[in-house]
């Protein structure tokens, strides 16, 4: 039996699902595209502590220490993040977080991420 083989262009797939085209054509969809960016680039450091983990991930740990429960330490629970602040931190990095380049998160993907993080939270 022949082995299974796939031929894919990952870039195309990523671009399609993370919303390179979303900004202009369908702004309503941008937050969901932004969630894809968040899941790929942010949640590893800024998500909640994994079940059975000893420490929360790095970003959550740092924000926990900084805010002492006055603000949520998990990033997508925040309601106070300003678009320009997100843009600056993503592009310039801060503390342990390195800058993300345009080849990693494109400008339209960054817009989608900002839309996602700006959604009203329950």
């Amino acid at each position: 039996m022949r082995g299974m083989m796939w031929q894919v262009t990952l870039w195309a797939a990523v671009a399609l699902v993370t919303g390179v085209r979303v900004e202009a054509a369908a702004p309503v969809a941008a937050p969901s595209a932004g969630k894809m960016v968040y899941d790929q680039w942010c949640v590893g450091c800024h998500g909640p502590m994994a079940a059975g983990g000893r420490f929360p991930p790095a970003g959550t740990s740092i924000l926990q220490q900084r805010y002492q429960n006055k603000l949520p330490a998990v990033l997508n629970e925040r309601t106070d993040l300003k678009p320009e602040f997100i843009r600056t931190v993503v592009r310039q990095g801060i503390a342990l977080m390195p800058a993300l380049r345009k080849t990693e998160v494109t400008d339209p993907q960054l817009d989608a991420l900002i839309a996602y993080l700006s959604l009203p939270k329950r």
Binding site: G3, A58, I62
Partner: protein, 530 residues
């Protein structure tokens, strides 16, 4: 804009203009804001920006043909290039070049998974694919293999393997590479091994061509730009589990090691790790992670490291073993269980001292995140770089390298570093000794601070460690960009014949010295010192 040595701004501008005709204006970065994204985020010079290694610009191709064109243009204008896959080997330099003014060739957009063959167990990928993307692709397509990845998974399997990085659970990632496609300094494309044949059906399956094996020439190398790699895949294991032995007597480590060597050599265990749990319990610059007693820290602050009687008395008092080792096996559950039962029986039958027990079952697939985890809690969270020499997996070597390192810290009067280090003891790359290695990698983090003077002292300490360890045969397995010259200098056998041999290859294939000048201490003729 930082110009490369000997290159005029006009030449660089012309080259950049020609790059835009290849990749489009959007993917040539020459504005300060964009270029700064290629600095080393964890630079040891973080508080002295004027000393950082910086790029002049960056260009981001999507195809091999574009890489070839970029190389030809760079030759025309003698522009040094610094290719990075994803530029995420943080702790070893990130995407910052050895030679300031180089143009970074950012291969992140070359991110095709070209083929995954589940029958024969291999894949062919491009450099821009990250571990996270690969894992997601495998999950979405229910592929029953798991990439062996380093902790932060935003890096590239190709970049990590070429840097000879270590993944979990299998250790040395370059050992899984069986074929490479490389753009040479003259713009030609070379495929290694069976990729040299007209019909390349065996390229991913058999690494050799006819004659010298070319594969290794392109790892930790500046002899070409790798644009594709064939990896053999590790299957997802149904079960990963270890066997642990511990004793309150230091000398018991020797028979433990003998037994675990036997079991590994027989194929019963995949690998094993050794250490000294009581001593290692002290080291950390995060108080929440250091659980060791203050008395242990006090003993390790002494030049003699504490006497046998003192350690044995303390071990009994605090009930933490002095000698510890663990081996592991992964694979189908019944086979792993049978292997561990055999190992346990062997240890008992051959009367290996200490208490042996089977450890917790671990998942067959290890997590891939972009998390440096506990590093966030350390004394500084501005970043870190790694000191990482290789040692033998023997008690003598383990204690000798620990003594050497501690004495460098004591000589320098750096008690803070001495306490953070404590005592190293662990394994060859994977958790619970799953990596099929015969060595150990000592991994020590050097944190970076906002205090320039403290960073300078730490850099000097790093250089002293490289020298003190190098003299005793513990060379670096990989080195941060800014320390690669010093690390290479320790490979000094026969007047540095290894370095001189690679330099002669470099001179022959890259007459203009455009590819990654200075990588791992290999510089083009016109930039060599001495």
């Amino acid at each position: 804009m930082k110009l490369p040595p000997g290159v005029s701004e006009e030449s660089l501008r012309r080259a950049l203009q020609e790059f835009t005709t290849v990749v489009g204006q959007e993917w040539v970065f020459d504005k300060d804001d964009d270029v700064a994204r290629y600095n080393d985020s964890y630079s040891p010079f973080v508080a002295e920006p004027e000393k950082q290694r910086v790029a002049s610009a960056a260009v981001a191709p999507t195809t091999v043909e574009q890489v070839q064109q970029i190389v030809r243009i760079a030759n025309k204008y003698k522009i040094p290039l610094y290719p990075v896959s994803t530029g995420r080997n943080l702790g070893y330099g990130g995407s910052a070049p050895n030679l300031s003014g180089s143009v970074v060739v950012d291969l992140k957009r070359m991110n095709r998974i070209i083929e995954v063959n589940t029958r024969e167990g291999y894949m062919i990928v491009e450099p821009g694919v990250s571990f996270i993307e690969l894992r997601r692709y495998f999950e979405e397509n229910q592929i029953d293999y798991a990439p062996s990845a380093p902790g932060p998974g935003w890096g590239s399997p190709i970049g990590n393997a070429l840097d000879r990085g270590v993944g979990m659970p299998c250790g040395d990632n370059f050992s899984a590479v069986k074929g490479l496609e490389v753009v040479l300094a003259n713009g030609e494309v070379l495929r290694t091994g069976r990729g040299g044949l007209r019909d390349q059906k065996l390229w991913p399956l058999y690494r050799y061509g006819l004659g010298p094996d070319l594969l290794g020439l392109f790892s930790q190398s500046n002899l070409g730009i790798v644009t594709k790699a064939c990896f053999w895949l590790e299957p997802k294991a149904e079960l990963s589990q270890g066997i642990n032995i511990a004793s309150f007597n230091d000398e018991d480590l020797d028979p433990m090691i003998d037994a675990l060597h036997h079991l590994s050599n027989q194929g019963v265990l995949d690998g094993f790790e050794i250490g000294s749990p009581l001593r290692s319990s002290t080291g950390s610059n995060d108080v929440r992670m250091a659980f060791g007693p203050a008395e242990a820290k006090a003993l390790l602050r002494r030049r003699d490291g504490g006497s046998k009687a003192e350690w044995e008395a303390l071990a009994k008092k605090v009930n933490i073993p002095l000698a510890g080792a663990s081996g592991g096996a992964r694979g189908p559950a019944p086979i792993v269980k049978a292997k561990l039962d055999y190992a346990l029986d062997y240890l008992q039958r051959t009367k290996v001292p200490g208490v042996a027990q089977i450890g917790m079952a671990l998942p067959g697939q290890f997590p891939i995140t972009i998390d440096f985890g506990a590093l966030a809690m350390k004394a500084s969270n501005l970043g870190h770089y790694y000191f990482s020499p290789i040692l033998r997996r023997t008690r003598d070597d383990l204690f000798a390298i620990n003594d050497t390192i501690r004495n460098v810290f004591i000589d320098a009067g750096d008690i803070e570093m001495l306490d953070e280090f404590g005592f190293y003891g662990a394994g060859g790359g994977g958790p619970i000794g799953l990596a099929k290695e015969k060595h150990m990698v000592l991994l020590m983090e050097f944190l970076v601070f906002s205090d320039a003077d403290k960073n300078r002292r730490r850099r000097e300490l790093f250089q002293k460690l490289v020298k003190a360890c190098g003299e005793k045969g513990w060379g670096e397995y990989r080195a941060p960009v800014v320390f690669q010259d010093e690390a290479q200098a320790e490979f000094s056998f026969n007047n540095g014949v290894q370095r001189r041999f690679v330099e002669s290859l470099y001179d022959a294939v890259d007459q203009n010295g455009i590819l990654s000048p200075g990588r791992m201490g290999i510089w083009p003729k016109h930039l060599r010192s001495g």
